[in-house]
Symmetry: C2
Subunit: 323 residues, 2 copies
């Protein structure tokens, strides 16, 4: 390529990158050769030399869960503008998967990783990624080892409890996701605080735990409905479970919201399509993704020295028909 234009490879490199002045005539000659030979710079060689790959890794639980595509898409859209390509890894919330994916991405020398961990703590992730730029999409746990973006889940939950109480519904249960990982503990704690602040004392039997799936909600719903005294409302830690609960309620002949009010969490597109339309707490997935990507870009630009970013996005209740 260089030989075709009769110059050194150095000059070609600089002509293409613009990192140092090249005379107009040689640049033109080079560009012509590039065109003629339809030359494509080899990014991997360049990566090896510059130790930057223009590539980032995104680790989420499961693309198939409707919440995640929105964050993935937003992440990609903002990173793409700066020329970054994104690897996506589905961890399924398993610790071993989270570690495996991190390693696989690091082996590719990604410039940064954005992760919504289910099991790993920010400190553990930092130990694995070394000094690679890292943004963790999970509530601050005191370890200032990464930039963080998260949502104020408690806010929407409090709003929802207030909404139910305002409607005269005070017997409120909670269907948590797995309570030891991910958003589970935070949402459950937020709910406990909210009901307490409202002066309520729901019995322990009204807080259940299930996987974040429609089936999980179905089974938990059946369990709840078999109780001798059951709540008038059930708040769920995500929409899929809430839809499963509605399945169970419908199967038991209950009217929603008259016999059982149901509140979801996330506000996935389907929430507005089911019948009755699901009252839920809007979780700003796209905004979260965009904020994570921006934080990462900022870190990449500023280097490891800058203070860790901490951005928290609000959630809010969306009142529809189910509560």
């Amino acid at each position: 390529v260089a030989s075709d234009a009769g110059v050194s490879v150095t000059t070609v490199s600089h002509a293409l990158s613009g990192k140092r002045a090249v005379s107009e005539t040689t640049r033109a000659r080079i560009l012509r050769s590039v065109e003629r030979l339809s030359y494509q710079p080899n990014v991997v060689a360049s990566s090896l030399r510059r130790s930057t790959t223009q590539t980032v890794g995104l680790l989420i639980a499961d693309l198939t869960n409707p919440y995640y595509p929105a964050v993935a898409r937003a992440v990609q859209d903002v990173l793409e503008r700066d020329g970054y390509l994104t690897f996506i890894g589905n961890t399924d919330g398993e610790r071993s998967s989270e570690i495996r994916w991190l390693r696989a991405m690091l082996a590719r020398s990604v410039d940064g990783v954005i992760m919504q961990p289910l099991t790993l703590s920010a400190g553990e992730i930092r130990d694995i990624v070394g000094d690679v730029a890292l943004v963790v999409a999970r509530e601050d746990d005191g370890e200032a080892t990464a930039d963080r973006v998260w949502t104020d889940d408690a806010r929407g939950i409090t709003e929802a409890v207030r909404h139910l109480v305002d409607r005269g519904v005070t017997e409120i249960g909670f269907l948590s996701g797995p309570s030891d990982v991910g958003p589970g503990p935070g949402r459950l704690a937020g709910w406990r605080r909210a009901v307490q602040d409202a002066g309520l004392e729901p019995p322990d039997a009204w807080v259940l735990e299930a996987p974040y799936t429609r089936d999980g909600g179905l089974h938990a719903g059946q369990q709840l409905l078999a109780l001798p005294t059951r709540p008038r409302a059930l708040m769920c830690a995500n929409d899929l479970m809430a839809i499963g609960v509605m399945d169970a309620a419908r199967a038991a002949g209950l009217r929603i919201p008259a016999d059982l009010a149901v509140v979801g969490f996330d506000d996935i597109e389907t929430a507005d399509l089911v019948s009755p339309r699901l009252t839920t707490i809007h979780n700003p997935a796209a905004e979260l993704g965009a904020a994570c990507a921006s934080a990462l870009l900022g870190r990449l630009a500023d280097g490891p020295g800058a203070a860790p970013a901490r951005v928290v996005l609000p959630t809010r209740l969306v009142v529809r028909e189910s509560a």
Copy 2:
């Protein structure tokens, strides 16, 4: 790393790759050093040398459309088992995006690309990717330049027409997606053939065209309902549009399926959650993704010489409530 174990880098390389015999004792020593230094092989250096990156690109229209995550997830799951990581690009069905993403991925020297093109033909894609392994997830157009996997859309459509006719519904319209790109022409043609085979002659006014969105369906539905004589059934080129049509029908006070039967296409998860539950044509997204990934793996293993694969997956009608 090598020095720590007191051997040459060559031996380390071979110990780790297993490409040539290494004595048990040295291998053990090397593994111990690897562990101690928590050494991670640099895939990009290895890529530069071997000119294979263990990376593939996946180009789809939009992760945010519920059909695609299922294919993306399936693709990743099978490629992951062979150690491949996947770049995902959202083209939004725009020609310029399709080209831009292809180039971006090729610049990263992906080993292969899987693409469900909306505007590019297989030949055009081949021209761009050169000799990179390529599988196109789109019906065969006669250009044998790529491995192909697609779905027999006409089959499900024929089944649906038959189903409607069996129920005494013979006035059938069709809501197509953009009819010049992607699955649009195929599904429309399939429908034309199916109604003709059934001896029906729907007027031109009953075939509409809209973007593949809920809003597209809503507007098309309104348009259809404003017609002086309207069909008793509307088949739609995807579920999102079908849901929009149901919105329009409900707003106009029509009963579904009594006044207007609605059939979707894709069978996204939401189809089973809306009310009335959507009768639709099941589009095997996960199977498609898995088949694409397998085809790619096969090509990567066999080299460019082997005959192009052509696998077609059946679609089938899923009867629920809306028709």
